[in-house]
């Protein structure tokens, strides 16, 4: 009976979370977007006149279902960049926490500070600049700076989008690992002669996991908010770019659907972040 009551309380709190942190904000976002995207209020001629991308239609893909194509492309870009950020951030964070080389650690921390504090806009422009410099100075043109494709086209946008998440994940992983490393049970395990590999597998990673997940969710939210500009800079035909094009071409339903898909993604991430936070609190 008490167990059932506990489950009931849990369910109720989950429901409250869903309503307060996801459904009601989504309603607000829906109201705001539908007010703004109302043809009676919005005048998109300026966008059409000013944006060079409105006139370069050959760069864009012709799709029968532009909404699905755009959201799919965005999801691919997001997944690639977050996966890349995890692949770099987690091992680097563990290495940081495990290492005793102070100079190297200081350097890594400064680099991560730089990466985390500069916006995706900066990275996108800087990467583009680098590519152009390589091309102009040495005639090297090995990665495309614009366009959609599940090949080398994916590299630069995911890099620009993933640098900040990687820095977030690195920093949170590093602090977690460093903390755990100095915990008593780890010291005991070391004293007992447990090898590094086993120590990592048995003690460090399981305990750092909630923090890494929380960092990933945080990183994903950051990436989602800078997705639009990265897509626009690299002309990646995802939801952000298609949104601007849809507005410029007065396809307001498509534009508001895309804006709301961002809101849904963001609300889901917020929910996950809440749950993760609750879980971290309970477990620790």
């Amino acid at each position: 009976m008490p167990r059932a009551r506990a489950v009931g309380t849990r369910l109720r709190s989950l429901l409250a979370h869903v309503v307060l942190d996801a459904l009601l904000p989504l309603g607000v976002a829906f109201a705001v977007v539908s007010f703004l995207a109302d043809p009676a209020h919005i005048d998109t001629s300026e966008l059409r006149a000013n944006s060079l991308l409105m006139n370069t239609s050959q760069l864009f893909r012709k799709e029968s279902n532009p909404f699905a194509a755009a959201v799919g492309s965005s999801a691919i870009l997001m997944l690639t960049s977050i996966a890349g950020a995890l692949a770099i951030g987690v091992p680097a964070g563990i290495a940081y926490g495990w290492s005793a080389n102070r100079a190297l650690k200081a350097l890594a921390w400064s680099v991560s500070t730089l990466a985390a504090s500069l916006p995706a806009f900066f990275w996108a422009v800087a990467i583009e600049l680098l590519m152009i410099l390589l091309w102009v100075q040495w005639g090297l043109r090995f990665l495309p700076t614009a366009g959609f494709g599940l090949d080398e086209h994916l590299v630069l946008p995911s890099l620009a989008l993933g640098i900040r998440p990687a820095a977030y994940i690195f920093r949170l992983t590093a602090t977690a690992v460093e903390e755990i490393r100095h915990a008593d049970y780890v010291r005991t395990a070391i004293a007992k002669g447990l090898g590094d590999r086993l120590l990592l597998k048995r003690h460090v990673l399981p305990n750092a996991a909630p923090n890494i997940i929380a960092a990933t969710v945080l990183a994903a939210r950051a990436a989602l908010s800078s997705l639009v500009i990265v897509e626009y800079v690299f002309i990646w035909g995802g939801a952000g770019l298609t949104f601007v094009q849809a507005l410029g071409n007065r396809r307001l339903e498509l534009a508001s659907e895309l804006a709301l898909s961002f809101a849904v993604g963001s609300a889901l991430l917020a929910l996950v972040a809440d749950l993760v936070r609750a879980r971290v609190r309970v477990d620790s």
């Binding site: 307060l20 942190d21 009601l24 904000p25 989504l26 309603g27 607000v28 976002a29 109201a31 705001v32 977007v33 703004l36 995207a37 209020h41 919005i42 005048d43 998109t44 300026e46 966008l47 006149a49 000013n50 944006s51 060079l52 991308l53 409105m54 006139n55 370069t56 504090s117 500069l118 916006p119 806009f121 422009v125 800087a126 583009e128 600049l129 152009i132 091309w135 700076t145 614009a146 908010s225 800078s226 997705l227 639009v228 500009i229 626009y232 800079v233 690299f234 002309i235 952000g240 949104f243 601007v244 507005l247 534009a255 804006a259 709301l260 961002f262 809101a263 963001s266 609300a267 917020a270």
Partner: protein
């Protein structure tokens, strides 16, 4: 702790030092940017082909790379990037600061009230905030800008401010909740301090230092959002490229440079690998990084648990420096850049008349000149000059530099506008200003002239010649350097009514001899219809003109405005030779050009002299007199092959 100790603490905080210096430099750029800009930010400076002094030719197509002349290169239209960055700073920075202040206002008030009072209001604020943060800032800002476009600058600022406040209010709410639980708050409350005082003294003291940090952070964020909007193609200054099949081709809608606008079309150049267009982007990012550094430094300096913390007094000095610099730059900006508007001809006249009355009593105002030249940075006259003539026929020149009422220059016995002052009547007061005639002259060939002639001098001259019934304006266009190009003179506009009056354009080619007085040839008016321009005789329903201001024996190409149908020559009589028969050949029926009916024909005059002609197009008709010079008087470049029935005659007056 001693002062030296404090200084060491400050210097140990490089983020704060760099951020402070950078912010002050940015503010200085906003104030003096337009003054120190090395080039005109709107002038096309990079020529495609440049002849170097050693005889070689350099070939450059804008956008050009940075070189010794242009430190940051030129943009796609050949404009100096560094000058544009400097000149645009004030507009971009004022928008950014205004939007950041507005955003802070919203975020702070909502954050503090919801944190302090809590309850359903706080819950509502949280939900709205979560809803707004759910949509990415840029998406929301794009829609907001497009919706608030009719409001102009205010709308733009509001769009930048209405997104991004939820983060501030959430942060503030958390801070207030934390402060509320502090022992000193409880102590104050227990001693009976009323709620309002708690907020204004205790809470403000706790949260206050954060204000500056958040402000710096938000300024950087707003600047970045401005840049992102510019990249998407939404910017305030309203200038843009027109895109042709092979890339951007001019012209521009507006001329005010602005950082966001400089970023418009950036990816286009990224595809074509044009480095210089990325420079404004790097500049904006550096500027926003400066604000972020400042925020970081301020946070460290105000955080009581940081090793780089400073005493509250020192922090107060730093914040006073920042706020003071902001106020100072606002005032400085106004005094440096916001000059009073350009004065009109009449305002200048009444000011100059006072000076003239004290310098040369009894002198009379005879000529006013508004002078423009290609070197000017804005649309104000370069100088506004008033000539006063004394009774001994000497002139006094009073000039207002940049048409600024405060910049007066008085010179005796000096004219700089080649006007013969002896043939002029004194001008009355309350005449029209120079901008109307200038606008009309621009439409009547002046604009085309300036496009062809990059270095020009334009003068709008107000005089009252003895042989006229009313004072008139004329507009002259002169090449400023080099021998190329003829001057253009657009004449005249009535200075009381503003209407174009007779003989609008002075001879393009000087007449071999004046038209005899017994042949009262109708005076012509210069008009332009789309690409067709000519010297027209204005009639009620029909105007007849020719591309040349003089008529010659032989074929004269004519254009007719008005009427429906094919042009016909109803009658043509030569005053000296009654047997001469003129004819109209190659008559083309009317077509609609720029909303008006325009038809063409060739008027063939077998003999020179005075002709009376009646031309009709459908029901519209015009009678006029014209004087034809002999065949050989026609300038070489306007000559046609001899036509049947016309015997070429030497250029002598009969």
């Amino acid at each position: 702790m001693s002062g030296r100790h404090e200084l060491r603490r400050l210097l140990a905080n490089p983020a704060l030092i760099i951020g402070l210096i950078g912010t002050l430099a940015l503010l200085g750029m906003g104030v003096w940017g337009a003054v120190i800009a090395p080039y005109d930010p709107n002038a096309n400076l990079s020529m495609v082909i440049k002849h170097l002094p050693d005889g070689t030719i350099s070939f450059k197509v804008p956008p050009t790379f940075p070189d010794s002349d242009h430190v940051f290169g030129t943009d796609a239209l050949g404009r100096d990037q560094w000058s544009r960055l400097l000149t645009g700073a004030w507009l971009s920075l004022s928008i950014v600061v205004a939007a950041a202040v507005l955003r802070l206002g919203i975020g702070f008030s909502l954050g503090i009230t919801s944190g302090w009072y809590g309850g359903p209001f706080a819950r509502l604020v949280r939900i709205v905030a979560a809803g707004i943060t759910a949509v990415p800032q840029l998406l929301l800002a794009i829609m907001l800008v497009l919706v608030t476009r009719p409001l102009g600058v205010a709308g733009f600022i509001a769009s930048l401010a209405l997104v991004g406040w939820p983060e501030i209010s959430e942060y503030l709410r958390a801070e207030v909740l934390r402060a509320k639980a502090q022992p000193f708050m409880e102590a104050a409350r227990s001693t009976g301090v009323p709620g309002r005082r708690l907020i204004t003294t205790h809470l403000a003291a706790t949260v206050g230092p954060q204000l500056l940090t958040v402000a710096a952070l938000e300024t950087g964020a707003v600047l970045l959002l401005l840049a992102e909007l510019g990249l998407v193609g939404l910017f305030l200054a309203g200038a843009t490229f027109l895109v042709g099949d092979f890339g951007p081709v001019g012209p521009l809608k507006g001329l005010v440079p602005e950082w966001g606008q400089m970023l418009g079309g950036l990816q286009f150049y990224a595809i074509t690998a044009e480095l210089p267009t990325l420079i404004p982007a790097m500049f904006v990012v550096l500027a926003s990084a400066t604000f972020a550094l400042l925020a970081d430094g301020l946070r460290a300096a105000s955080d009581p648990f940081s090793s780089r913390r400073v005493l509250p007094g020192t922090f107060g000095v730093v914040s006073k420096v920042l706020v003071g610099a902001l106020c100072f730059s606002a005032v400085g900006f106004i005094s440096v850049n916001v000059r009073p508007g350009a004065i009109s001809m009449e305002e200048g006249r009444s000011l100059a008349a006072k000076t003239a009355e004290t310098t040369w009593p009894g002198s009379e105002f005879v000529a006013g000149v508004a002078r423009y030249s290609s070197g000017a940075r804005d649309d104000r006259p370069e100088r506004l000059t008033y000539y006063f003539r004394s009774d001994r026929n000497e002139v006094l020149r009073i000039s207002f530099i940049k048409a600024d009422r405060l910049a007066v220059e008085v010179r005796r016995y000096e004219s700089e506008d080649e006007i013969d002052f002896t043939l002029l009547k004194a001008l009355p007061a309350n005449l029209l200003s120079y901008d109307g005639p200038l606008r009309q002259a621009e439409q009547n060939g002046g604009f085309v002239y300036r496009q062809r002639q990059p270095n020009y001098l334009v003068r709008v001259i107000l005089t009252w010649p003895n042989d006229r019934e009313a004072p008139v304006y004329e507009v002259t266009y002169n090449p400023l350097t080099g021998p190329q190009g003829n001057p253009l003179r657009v004449c005249c506009f009535d200075a009381k009514t503003g209407e174009a009056v007779d003989s609008l354009v002075a001879p393009r080619v000087a007449a071999p001899w004046p038209i005899p007085p017994d042949c009262t040839a109708a005076r012509t008016v210069f008009r332009q219809l789309d690409r067709f321009q000519g010297y027209f005789v204005q009639g009620g329903t029909l105007s007849v003109g020719s591309p040349f201001n003089l008529n010659y024996q032989g074929d004269n190409f004519i254009q007719m405005i008005g009427g429906q149908g094919t042009p016909r020559l109803e009658a043509a009589a030569n005053m000296e030779n009654a047997s001469a028969r003129a004819e109209l050949v190659n008559a083309q029926p009317n077509a609609s050009v720029a909303g008006q009916s325009l038809s063409f024909a060739t008027l063939r005059l077998p003999v020179p002299g005075c002709w009376k002609v009646r031309i009709t197009v459908g029901t519209a008709a015009l009678d006029y007199t014209l004087y034809a010079y002999p065949w050989d008087c026609r300038p070489q470049h306007e000559r046609f092959a001899p036509v049947p029935g016309v015997t070429p005659l030497p250029c002598t007056k009969t």
